[in-house]
Amino acid sequence: MPQYGMVIDLKRCYGCYACVMACKVKNHTPPEVFWARLLKGERGKFPNTMRQALPVLCMHCEEPSCLEVCPTGATQKLDNGIVIVDKDKCMGCKACIMACPYGARYSVDKWESYFPDGLPLSEYEEFAKKYWEEHSGCGVATKCDFCLDLLEEGKLPACVEACAANARTFGDLDDPDSEVSTLIRKYRGEVLNPELGNKPKVYYLAPR
């Protein structure tokens, strides 16, 4: 069984938000829910400063802290390493949201329009709301699942497909010859905040 993981090359990422939008379009997430996100960081002192984008998503940790705190068994780790939420078992306690140091989980009480002033849902929003309620749902924890349905069709996650800079690579971390394993080995892939001990399976190639 493969152990899925991702490598994000920060030298290539220029922060265009295509991954964020691709995730939204694929998963029809409601307002304020971003399974794929983009953070911006700065370093140095003026005038020698640098700005860097950091795409963030569920790290599908080897030792997920969200799994440890889930009281109902809704959070599960599949054999392929992907961490999922079974919406039918989630009671919406939000303990997993508090437990995730990467801020990868979301919960919304109800679907609200993207548009202000109480406008009725548009035709697309009605469709998206229905899709969301079928696949994820309101009142329960939701998160990125590496586009599990696309993987089952032999396709790549939406954020990987959408990345114009080819900054994202997806594959089997257990296969030493896979592209992800090679990139991690060759460019010394790092994980975010390794001191937390979650052992994330999303690796980053640091900016230079």
Binding site: L10, Q52, E68, V69, T72, M91, C93, D109, C138
Partner: protein, 322 residues
């Protein structure tokens, strides 16, 4: 706007969870004091009776607030089917056992002729105390198990909550004693309760200072400490009005009102206890709302979740908070 990007602070657990944690502490604390006082016999009869009446209902109401906060409360029963797998599942078991023992103790104490000093009664009291203390500690363990909030992720949090639970348990019992006082003969019980409460309040002051000092030394939780120290609900509401003033009033009650009339004693006890009770809630609320997400580090960059727009000063744009 993505709250995770634009909000450094967690915004999922708020007032309802603070009430749950507070009432869990009050219920466990009031029961513990009542059960301990029951060993003192007739001299603390009123405080024992009131504490026993508070324990179970306070916790029950607290659980209702938890249910109200759940996104999918109909699935709450699933938490009881996986005991030992998480702190919420463990807490469900602990709270259930505490409710059973406190209910049995109340029934035996109030509605039967069982001797207050019998072995059976004492056994129930000891078991009740154990699960009451576990219940209060659980409210802190729930937070300290949250790896995503470095401020909460401290072994001192459950200790602070246990001490605060005992303090607020005292104060709610005192309020009950004011309401159901039995005239002049109650004054000595107020004096004893005031002394007990004063000691625990001093311990709480030391514990909270130790907690904040330890958290400030950790880079990831420093922001939370800085924020909580700027919160009016914490400094004024909790520390001054919820700890300082009640401590002074309890000491006055203990040492300066021996010769005063019953009404003065009741007034001082009520005001001190009410302020202390409100302070206990504000402590939990402040700890919750000041829970900051950790900074993510990569390649020498610090990727902070930037402050909410309302925290930004005009003209600075999206600068992170200091």
């Amino acid at each position: 706007m993505d709250p995770k990007v634009n909000g450094q602070l967690q915004n999922e657990w708020g007032g309802l969870i603070a009430l749950y944690l507070f009432l869990g502490g009050v219920g466990g604390g009031a029961y513990t004091i009542a059960a301990i006082n029951s060993f003192l016999g007739k001299s603390m009869e009123l405080s024992t009776t009131i504490g026993l009446w508070i324990g179970f209902p306070a916790l029950f109401i607290g659980c209702l607030f938890l249910l109200a906060d759940l996104g999918n409360p109909g699935k709450f029963f699933l938490a009881g089917l996986k005991p030992g797998t998480s702190w919420i599942a463990r807490g469900t078991g602990i709270i259930s056992l505490f409710m059973v023992f406190s209910f049995i103790h109340l029934v035996l104490h109030q509605f039967t002729e069982v001797s207050k000093t019998s072995v059976g009664m004492n056994t129930i009291a000891v078991l009740g105390i154990i699960f009451a203390v576990f219940t209060i500690a659980y409210t802190g363990l729930l937070l300290s198990a949250s790896k995503g909030i470095p401020f909460w992720r401290s072994g001192i949090v459950p200790v602070v909550f246990v001490i605060s639970g005992l303090v607020t348990g005292h104060f709610l019992t005192i309020i009950g004693m004011v309401i159901f006082n039995e005239g002049a003969k109650t004054v000595s019980q107020f004096s004893t309760m005031a002394l007990e409460a004063s000691v625990v309040v001093v311990v709480e002051v030391l514990a909270i200072l130790f907690f904040l000092n330890a958290a400030y030394k950790q880079p990831d939780s420093r922001e939370s400490v800085e924020r909580i120290m700027q919160k009016t609900i914490f400094i004024v509401g909790y520390f001054i009005l919820g700890l300082g003033v009640p401590l002074v009033l309890m000491l006055i009650l203990r040492y300066a009102l021996n010769e005063s009339g019953l009404n003065t004693v009741l007034a001082v006890a009520f005001i001190g206890a009410l302020l202390g009770l409100i302070g206990g809630f504000l402590l939990r609320l402040a700890i919750l709302v000041c829970g900051a997400l950790p900074t993510l580090n990569m390649g020498g960059f610090q990727f902070r979740r930037i402050a909410k727009p309302k925290d930004l000063k005009p003209g600075i744009g999206l600068m992170p908070p200091k």
